[in-house]
Amino acid sequence: MDDRHPPPVSASRRAFLHGIPLLTAAAALAPAPARAGDARHQWAMLIDVRKCIGCQACTVACLQENAVPAGSFRTIVSTYSVKLTDAAQPAGIYLLPRLCNHCDNPPCVPVCPVGATFKRDDGIVVVDGGRCVGCAYCVQACPYDARFINHDTGEADKCTFCAHRVEAGLLPACVETCVGGARIFGDLNAPKGELRRRLEEAKPDLKVLKPELATEPRVFYIGLDARFQGKVEGQGTLWQPRATHA
């Protein structure tokens, strides 16, 4: 053997070493979340609080449809007893269905440290559960208290407008079950759709929650009393589902 020449470098080793940067780059880039959703649609909801009867059928339907753990809620009808001064009866009830507002300028999205929460092309704000680290920064950033940490998954959870149902051509569970027809779901891009028609009709009375924050909610309200548009000034509720004390 001629020892003046070094042994040939293994071609396979060279190929392997060349491949390392490629593998590293691919590992970093591959699991980008799918920005799903058809951009031809822009989903939104209109809630006519005058029609809500406070039956909480939407609350229960949502819990069932989305297997929300006990004590947590993606939607609920906040119920208030309001003293009346201009009627014979002493007090009335004010009902306000709440859910994620699927904001056009969602404060929950930029704060997520791992890009797990994002707005889909069809306007629905979702959480990529597999990527979420459960830091709850988005829970803090949401001005509507619409997010929570799901105790079963350890991930941030919220209303998705029942995206899985919408993709199958169905209505969100809360809309489907609403007894009073108070929730209207539809596509802002469909000029002849019911949502657009109802929004146009109600235009002077349309309101959103906390407009001063410029989050541009995609959940609109008819009959929203100004006293309930932001943080409600009143006596707090006594019912706390996960509290261990009375």
Partner: protein, 365 residues
């Protein structure tokens, strides 16, 4: 609060940032606070600061190594912490923080190693159970001045970034008016410095044979200054809220002022700061009491801001009630971080006894 509206049905959201988060903000604050206290003696070689500077560096190290564990435990999916590095998101200050913490800790550990090397070599020479380990860690035991300054500079950049991000990431939460104030990072910073001084005072007091009156007085006067600034910042916050000049302050004040708990917390915080200020000013020799008071104020401030702040509903009426759970989501989080802190303290002081660190002189001989 309007007596005309009573909420009858609503959801009470849980506190999603747990006591672990309070522990993290407390310990990382103590760490960078104590690190800054170590600079006059070790980097600028100010006479009389050497002993307390080494004790401050030990405090920075113990707290700095404990803090990230508390942060990790506050994640509801701690096993996915690597996502912070795989999916960097520049719009999120928390994402930046995941990179700032290693910068700070790398600088801090290098700085501590370079500062303690000569002492480690001396301890190795004296024999004892840890002599072998001390010799290995001393790695020759050279007093590398330039390297020490370079490591301190790296740690300083890291500390500044950590102090900045921990304040800003909370300040930017517009959904919580109580947090949404540019004064919050300053309040975190001032109380962190006070806490760092407090822990150094305690170490200084409990380092046998080193109880150094002049060092205690120096630390006490720095603590008095920090309390004065803390009170000043608090007064500015209150003035902005009462005058209505800053709507977010006015909103925050309106949210918390009707609550008896908040009134008590405010009175408590002011009283503790005034007491610390007066003690540090009039009786600067009372090192233990001063140290405990400063640590208590730094912790209370963070507990009130985080746990108290999360009890204010963003949309609902009144307040959410919070009871400290006894398990890992509550008390065990506090006890657990305290236990880890204690373990690291014992481990490090076994190798580097407090009395040797606290001794006057350039290298703690």
């Amino acid at each position: 609060m309007s007596p005309d509206i009573v909420e009858t049905v609503n959801v009470a959201r849980e506190v999603p940032w747990l006591p672990w988060a309070v522990q993290y903000f407390f310990l990382i604050g103590l760490s960078y606070g104590a690190f800054l206290v170590s600079l006059p003696g070790l980097v600028f070689r100010r006479a009389g600061w050497e002993g307390s500077a080494r004790l401050a560096l030990l405090a920075a190290l113990v707290c700095g190594l404990t803090a990230p564990v508390a942060l990790l435990a506050d994640l509801h999916q701690p096993g996915r912490f690597w996502h912070f590095y795989a999916y960097f998101t520049p719009s999120s200050w928390m994402s930046w923080g995941a990179f700032f913490i290693p910068v700070y800790l790398t600088g801090l550990m290098l700085y501590a190693w370079l500062a303690f090397r000569p002492l480690l070599a001396r301890l190795a020479g004296e024999g004892g159970r840890c002599a072998g380990l001390a010799r290995t860690l001393a790695y020759g035991g050279h007093d590398s001045r330039n390297a020490l300054v370079a490591a301190a500079a790296l740690a300083f950049v890291g500390a500044a970034l950590v102090a900045f991000y921990t304040g800003v990431e909370v300040m930017l939460v517009r959904a919580r008016p109580l947090w949404d104030t540019p004064l919050l990072p300053l309040q975190f910073f001032v109380t962190a410095i006070a806490g760092g001084l407090g822990l150094t005072l305690l170490f200084n007091r409990y380092a046998p044979g080193t109880a150094n009156g002049s060092a205690t007085r120096r630390l006490a006067s720095a603590l008095a200054a920090s309390q004065f600034i803390a009170l000043l910042v608090g007064a500015v916050w209150l003035a902005l809220g009462l005058s209505g000049l800053a709507p977010t302050h006015a909103q925050a004040l309106a949210q918390v002022s009707p609550s008896a708990n908040w009134q008590l917390s405010a009175v408590w915080a002011v009283a503790a700061s005034v007491l610390t200020l007066l003690l540090a000013w009039k009786r600067p020799g009372s090192g233990v009491l001063l140290g405990l008071l400063a640590l208590h104020s730094a912790w209370m401030m963070r507990w009130t801001i985080f746990i108290g702040g999360q009890q204010v509903p963003k949309t609902g009426a009144g307040y959410y009630s919070y009871q400290l759970p006894l398990g890992p989501e509550g008390l065990m989080g506090i006890v657990g971080t305290a236990g880890l802190w204690l373990f690291l303290f014992v481990a490090l002081t076994t190798l580097l006894p407090l009395e040797r660190l606290g001794r006057a002189g350039q290298t703690g001989a």
